[in-house]
């Protein structure tokens, strides 16, 4: 494993018991993602996409196999260590934004720093920087319901970035947005990637996956294909 490998999955399996039935969501995944890669994980529903996302995000642990994230072996971790890894190494962006409705944009972005134990002044400064990075420097004190869908997702992205995570992990980030706004959000991801951020997007939309440089296709809990996307003619806006 070289220093450049940020994610390494080896023989990952994940099984659930639903009632009396044993569901094998992941059946042996081997995957490496390097620093500053831009990867889309695709697959039809039931392919194990969501399970994969939860495992990568350290919200869940595998039944078998090993998972290293930025040198830490996450597959054996207990609850509190997983929480620490989620806080320091992962920046989540969700389909439904998942912002706290009563908190301002700034307070939402500060949240990961609260759990990282940063001081109030430091938190505020870093949260302001993150919001400026996604172009929301003038909306910091708005509540989520005072923002458009695209703006909400930008707040979520700022929140994901604020702890300088190893990977930005997005789950259907444009699923609740119209196509114009989707493009706008994808441009943000592209810009972040070009600034050196490792980005992993879980999606079922080929249009979205087309923005990534590499597409991993899952089928029935296995990697079906893993290919490099041809460079896009439109390129990425910095």
């Amino acid at each position: 494993m070289t220093d450049d490998v940020i994610i390494k999955l080896a023989g990952i399996t994940r099984e659930y018991t639903m009632g009396t039935e044993q569901v094998r969501a992941l059946r042996g995944i081997d995957l490496e993602i390097r620093r500053n890669e831009y990867v889309a994980i695709m697959g039809p529903s039931g392919s194990g996409k969501s399970t994969m996302m939860n495992l990568l995000g350290c919200l869940d642990t595998p039944t078998g196999g090993r998972y290293w994230l930025n040198g830490h072996e996450a597959s054996q971790m207990k609850d509190d260590d997983l929480a620490r890894v989620r806080n320091k190494e992962i920046g989540f962006v969700f389909q439904t934004f998942n912002l706290l409705p009563r908190a301002s944009a700034l307070a939402n972005v500060e949240l990961p720093l609260v759990y990282a134990g940063a001081s109030g002044r430091d938190r505020r400064r870093r949260a302001e920087q993150a919001l400026q990075r996604v172009g929301l420097g003038d909306r910091m004190h708005h509540k989520p319901n005072e923002l458009s869908g695209g703006q909400r997702q930008r707040v979520a992205i700022a929140r994901a970035l604020v702890n300088n995570p190893s990977i930005l992990l997005a789950d259907e980030p444009t699923g609740n947005l119209d196509s114009t706004t989707s493009e706008e959000i994808m441009r943000v991801f592209g810009a972040l990637h070009s600034q050196g951020q490792t980005v992993v997007i879980v999606t079922h939309e080929p249009d979205i996956a087309a923005h990534a440089h590499r597409v991993v296709m899952l089928r029935d809990g296995r990697v079906d294909s893993d290919r490099i996307n041809p460079p896009r003619a439109t390129g990425v806006a910095a």
Binding site: L59, D60, D80, A83, R86, N87, Y115
Partner: protein, 413 residues
Amino acid sequence: MPLLEAVRLALSSIRAQKLKSFFSLVGVLIGVTFLIAVVSIVQGMNVYMTDKFAGALIGVNTFQLRQTPNFTMGNTTEAQWREWQRRPRITIEDAAYVESHMKTPVIFARSGYDRRGVAWQGKLAKDITLNTVDAEFFQIKHWNIAEGRAFTPQEVNANAEVAVLGWELAQRLFNGRDPLGQTISIGGLPHRVIGVVEKQGNLFGISMDKFVVTPITSPARRLTNRPHVIDDLQIQATNPALMRAAIEEVGELMRVRRGLKPSQPDNFQIQTAEGALSAWDKISRILFLALPGLVGISLVVGGIVIMNIMLMSVVERTREIGIRKALGAKRSDIMAQFVVESATLSLTGAAMGIVAGILLAFVIRAVTPLPAAVAPWSIGLGVGLGILVGMVAGVYPARQASRMDPIIALGHE
């Protein structure tokens, strides 16, 4: 997560749901209101009883040598009552014996009393306390003279037919006119008014100014007791440290004078202010025993209500918990958030209860003769109980919250 952060978070979610929060803390509010109000009243009564009641009725640093107690507490048995009645009365000779043998420095005043009508120029004031006493009585009572003067030991020796009036009696008979030099009739016996005592005020709504004082040698003396008999010998120690020694010495002298064997009980009574207060002590002890029960029930109910509200809140905020966990909140962070929120909620109730309790105490003081003094320790206790109830009530809901699976919580609508 730092405590301050958790408290700020808690306050914001309480503010977000004001009405629901208020209802959820009513139980704690009532419990603490009870606590503050009852303690205030009992404390107020304590101050009142020790300062005023004991001071006014017995006198500071003073005790009385009597035949029987003048304040009986609780139920007196028939046998006890008969034993009291069989005791010899206190006589002038008893008093003289004690006075002449006493070594501890004290002041003596022999006294007798009764209730009589007092008249002046056809006006009659009924049911006036008549005290026939030595001149030292004024000193023992700490009475100041508003008009004229008190009588002197010389006047007592000279069987002077003089009287000093209580403030209210003077008002009733003379109604603003100068009473000094006027001759009043006490139970038909003429006495010349030489002074009026300063106003003493009320005790439990009863006027302390309806009295007349004459020398123990005056004609009115016939109205209080048989010749040679007195109701009590009042003894005041010259300083508080000598009280105990004085009480013991008087007891010893009386036992010697009456020739009591060591096996025989005292056949006289030494009445102290503490003795008079023992009935009140009993009442306040019962109140203080009942208080934890009353407060406890309200707080337990309040705690259960808060626990329920918190459980509901945990379910309603499942998604928020999921978000927080995804962003790196540990179990302990979520636990702390909900325990602090519950404690803050409860403490808010306790704070409102403290304010309500103090207001209630003031209202009671304003509309009843009962005094009320807010005890600082009861406020401290109210705050402590508020936090404790909230924390205890919050533990279970907070555990539920902290154990949520973030994946399921995030998927919750």
